[in-house]
Amino acid sequence: MTYDNENLKVVGTRPVRPDGADKVTGRANFGADFSMPQQLIGKVLRSPHPHARIVSIDTSKAEALPGVKAVMVGEDMIAMAHEMSQSGESAIDVHDLSLNVLARGKVLYDGHAVAAVAATSAVIADDALDLIDVTYDVLPHVSDVDEAMKPDAPVLHEDMFTAGMDEKPATASNIASRMEMALGDVEEGFKKADIVIERSYKTKAVHQGYIEPHAVVANFAEDGTATVWCSSQGHFAIRDLCAKLLGMDSSAIRVTPAEIGGGFGGKTTVYLEPLAIALSKKAGRPVKMTMTRAEVFRATGPTPATSLDVKIGVTNDGQIVAAEADFRFNAGAFKGSPVGAACMSAFTPYTLENVKVVGYDVVTNACKSGAYRAPGAPNGAFAVESALDELAHMLNMDPLDFRHQNGAEAGTKAVYGATFREIGCKDVLVAAKNHPHYKSNLGPNQGRGVASGFWFNIGGQSNAAVNVHEDGTVTVVEGNPDIGGTRAAMAMMAAEVLGIPFEKVQVVVADTASIGHTDVTGGSRVTFATGMAVTQAAEDVVRQLKERAAATMELDPEEVVWQDGVAHPTKGEAKPLSLADIAGDAARTGGIIVGRSSINAKGAGPSFATHICDVEVDPETGRIEILRYTAVQDVGKAIHPSYVEGQMQGGAVQGIGWALNEEYVYNEDGILENPGFLDYRMPVASDLPMIDTVLVEVANPSHPFGVRGVGEAPLVPPLAAVVNAIQDATGIRMTELPVSPVKMLEALEANQKQAAE
């Protein structure tokens, strides 16, 4: 770390973000706000069956409809071999991705894309879809993860032989892979335990719930290049995935990032983009495609439904001596659920000698799961933090003290192999315990729950340029779509390094042709990695400014110091020179000054969070109300505290929705029953109290300002915090999410019945 807290002038303040005026006036252009002249409207025909063979597709009537300019089906896409490609925080198999974009041979979920058309109007495009005749041979389907693992389950992929086994299985199954990681010896560990509990939990698929549906405008030109406008969490990922799927060079595709209306991991991959480009190529005109809300639910990437078993052993004095878990994740139609991350993170807030985690990635006839904010971790933490809560009660220990006693700290080795440097795990527990919320009183039918959580955060590749204009103002050019206020953070770090006011720095999120490859806005990486790149680019500028000043002052560069935007000579009588002075003179001294940085950032600092939740349960209706909520997190260094608080509040509320109300409801026929905001119930403003936040700052030594990623950890604790609060209020341990009023009342009545007997 280079910039210490004492002397910061910009970092840590709360200026208005550079893109703010456009966003409050409706002027900012999101994915669907852009149009190209002569554009066609593209639409997708989707499977009504959860599992079926495509016997034939007849598009002739659709092609003949006046106004239809292009029709495509799966055979028009390139047949891809299995190959892993980076997408967002994880790797994706491009063979699977291609089939998800447009089915070939089989449809694997209700909503799976089977054909696409481009026409001169939306009405004609819809009519064209109605004219496409698809003959299906409907197959038996399977929706539940545990059912899908049984030997007699319908098999989705003939070529799926469970990876990670000692011997490759003889028959295909729905189990894509098995993974295992361990430290020590859990068998021995359990022998030392005074109390051992084994518990099972279940969660349903939930969607990221971004308010902006996917949207793209693409134009394929006669020279084989394509221009794409779309909102995404990473236009470089979009470009490279489209290039792969369409057999094009990356340099032939130029993706301009629109503003993005939320992503949370769900927009790090492609759905419509390859189709829009391919349709444009066929039609010879630009094609605009947007998803309806129903399509977003049916055919994008919610986080998996999961089945979770944990076994934890403790001694009577509160020491966890062994911990074991078996996690089964429902990846949807194609492999690649975040079960691995769940295995790696579930027990990580604790220093454990003996731990073993086994995970299964299982496919079912549901839409292909995607990344959702700390993918996998909320599920694992739900199970572990619920079980730990039970143990704390059995031990008669305060749940925060219990966690603190076993808490991870510098030197702790995690099950996935990392050894921690300075982390804020215990600091966060202490801050939670000292918060007035924790000491406040509760009334009848009210309860309080706490839970902790961990997320790795990643570094990754970022590219930045800092352009110094002749008048001394500056533009930062970077490649991360701004989902949560990162333009402001970039401007603040650059301003701090350069020693100039925030208002003199503009930030541009450049397209794929105008800045070097930058990894996605995801993985809680932007303020860390791109911030590091921007800082280094600004430092590069400072180095050049000092050189130019030194030349003018007739000194060596080491004899010049940069202070508050001014070059001062450390000896001699030369006049100090401001950034504006040097910039205005740049042509004479060597040319325009540009700072650059291209990094693969290392040393991302993990984030630990502990949440406190108070609920009230209506004993006659089972309805649960959130009374009070406090989110405590180690944030490293809050560059712009308002946006850090915002991440914590937003993640907490997503977790509250996941715990209480949100779920994908697939019926017996494998059809999604609630593909809309009416029956996919996300929290509304009146459901919630203010969400208090405590920003604990344990600096990450690897970042010049001490930044840790903050965006994802907030979704990890809330599920268990809510469920633990319900336990405290009612005495009932709910193990299946969401805890709807219906489930709660059933449990309350069963409890009453039992108590009466």
């Binding site: 809309g676 905001f677 203010m690």
Partner: protein
């Protein structure tokens, strides 16, 4: 199918357009009039991202047919700032950092202004219930509610 000719007033200006009978006012604003500030989040009245005022009444433009705008008065988010001066609701949202992705923000701006035009001194609960039809997935609503209460306070002339 022939289009319907509509004469209406949008953001104070007389406007004419042609629309299909089943086109919603949201479709018309965005696709015919290039007023893309109102957003589509669901097209079913569940998210409020398309909020406008119709004859001074807060409504979802996705639940109004374009044809129904005939002779009416339509105000969209584009009319809320006056010249280069933001409305206090807009300014406070920026000051409080009460937006992250910004997609729901136009809807909240229109809805919050409609509230404060009617009720200059709402309680936190009243603000939350008034805004229950505006979904936000990024912020958890905390800072939005704080910004609206602060804007109300400023509009009442109370300095902070």
């Amino acid at each position: 199918m022939s289009k319907i000719h509509v004469s209406t007033t949008v953001n104070g200006d007389p406007v004419e357009f042609l629309c299909e009978p089943q086109q919603t006012l949201l479709d018309v604003l965005r696709d015919e009039l290039q007023l893309t500030g109102s957003k589509e989040g669901c097209a079913s009245g569940d998210c409020g991202a398309c909020s406008i005022e119709l004859d001074g009444r807060l409504v979802c433009s996705c639940l109004v047919l374009g044809a129904e705008a005939e002779g009416r008065d339509v105000e969209t988010v584009e009319s809320i700032a006056v010249g280069d001066t933001l409305h206090p609701v807009q300014a406070k949202i920026l000051e409080h950092g009460a937006l992250q992705c910004g997609y729901c923000t136009p809807g909240f701006v229109v809805a919050a202004k409609a509230l404060l035009d009617r009720n200059p001194d709402p309680t936190e609960t009243e603000v939350r219930y008034w805004l229950a039809g505006n979904l936000c997935r990024c912020t958890g609503y905390d800072k939005i509610v704080g910004a609206v209460l602060d804007a109300a306070s400023e509009m009442r002339g109370e300095t902070s």
